[in-house]
Amino acid sequence: MTAADDLGAFLEALLFIAERPLSSAELAELAGVPRPQAEAALASLAKDLIEGRRGLRLQGMDDAWQLATAPEVGQRLAAYAAREEARLTAAALEALAVVAYRQPCTRGEVERVRGVDSDYVLRSLLHRRLVVEMGRRDTPGRPILYGTTFTFLERFGLTSLDDLPPIEESTTPTLPAAEEQEPVDAG
């Protein structure tokens, strides 16, 4: 067994027993290796877990890492692991999508895109721990900034925010005029 494999195994074990996500700096310190080496080992651990079709995945956000079960087995695990959870409403999904794709972002930004008051729906997302306050923006009024959480990644089966479905940003050309002007059927 090479030293690199040994490090990977150690990090995997460490993440298995950890009660909370660990940063690469913490992992490096616990493993007694420089941080770049720990990061490389994490990357290869993530790859091994996927390629080996294992039951766990490395899940990361803002340089915090945890082991979570693979999305592929999530449904079958639900019988054991999941609490009864209701699907999110359309309003909650919209607000969550703004936060997920624009984070960190303010309530004002959510409302500007959605065009409706989003105070209540953001609060319900906070309550479900799908979003969290991430500080304040240094602009007048110092509005609260929101971002998504590990709970969010887990719920949607994402190993990181990079896994979010790609979004057509508003930089795409405007819609064809034909669709905009489509006559409304008067029948």
Binding site: F16, E19, R57, Q59, Q66, L67, A68, T69, A70, P71, E72, G74, Q75, L77, A78, A81, A82, E85, R87, L88, T89, A90, A91, L93, E94, L96, A97, V98, A100, Y101, V113, R114, G115, V116, D117, D119, Y120, V121, F150, L153, E154, R155, F156, G157, L158, T159, P165, I167, E168, E169, S170, T172, T174, L175, E180, Q181, V184, D185, A186, G187
Partner: protein, 261 residues
């Protein structure tokens, strides 16, 4: 005879400010059925605001009637009700503007909120992208969830439940007995709550006897500065309601409060 004092207008803060806000309730519930459109109300507003549908073709009265009929058959959800009122108000406003000949929608103080055509188009595209993203997220919601390790029961701190020596109990009892009785609480520690309504009652009772009372005497009987202040406010409130009249013949003289017939 001194000139009669004008009744004083008191601008008082609202006693119970009820914070109203619209919560969004985009849940399917009430679907609009019109010759030109059928679907959720929010979509209707969206189409009208984005000028894809002429507001003049939308019969708002029928819309409201349909909603009332809908309410009669379904449980009332306050959030949806608020949402309907907000959207309907928006529709009425838009329609009013479009029905007035030559009327241009007024430029609001924050003109930034009145987007031009290009901005509107950009926002629609932005919103559609968001809506699609939200839809894509919804497709994944709880479909293939990942789970983290649950804390086990053995992870939870366990209380030491071995038998306890009796001496602990006697020691505790002795320690309790050693604690001196607490000093009696100083009087007047609780805030006295006096309301204008209460003092109006006091004032009316005082007026009931002879129809007039000297304010200074009333204030002298007050037990605290707060009570005196509220009594004065109560007097002013009755003046405002034109139930009493207040006269003072000379500077620093007695202020006579009289019932108005």
């Amino acid at each position: 005879m001194a000139p009669e004092l004008d009744p004083i207008e008191i601008v008082q803060p609202p006693i119970e400010a009820v914070a109203m806000r619209t919560t969004d309730a985009l849940e399917p519930g009430f679907e609009v059925q019109l010759p030109t459109f059928s679907g959720p109300l929010a979509v209707l507003l969206h189409l009208i605001e984005s000028r894809q549908l002429d507001v003049l073709t939308v019969p708002l009265a029928e819309l409201a009637d349909a909603y009332v009929a809908h309410l009669a058959e379904h449980p009332v959800d306050p959030a949806q009700l608020a949402e309907f009122v907000a959207v309907a108000a928006q529709l009425i406003l838009i329609k009013s503007h479009s029905m007035l000949p030559g009327e241009v929608p007024p430029v609001s103080a924050d003109a930034a909120d009145e987007p031009d055509e290009e901005e509107l188009r950009r926002r629609i595209v932005e919103y559609r992208a968001l809506r699609d993203a939200a839809h894509a997220l919804g497709e994944r919601d709880l479909v293939a969830p990942m789970h983290r390790r649950e804390p086990r029961e053995s992870d939870l701190p366990v209380a030491n439940v071995g038998p306890l020596p009796v001496v602990l109990l006697t020691d505790a009892m002795r320690a309790l007995a050693a604690i001196p009785e607490p000093e009696p609480a100083p009087p007047e520690i609780m805030a006295r709550e006096i309301t204008i309504a209460m003092q109006i009652t006091v004032l009316r009772a005082a007026l009931a006897a002879g129809g007039r009372v000297v304010l200074q005497q009333l204030l002298a009987s007050c037990r605290s500065r707060t009570e005196a202040t509220v009594t004065l406010l109560a007097t002013l409130e009755l003046v405002r309601r034109r139930q009493v009249r207040v006269r003072q013949r000379e500077l620093f003289g007695p202020i006579v409060v009289e019932t108005l017939a």
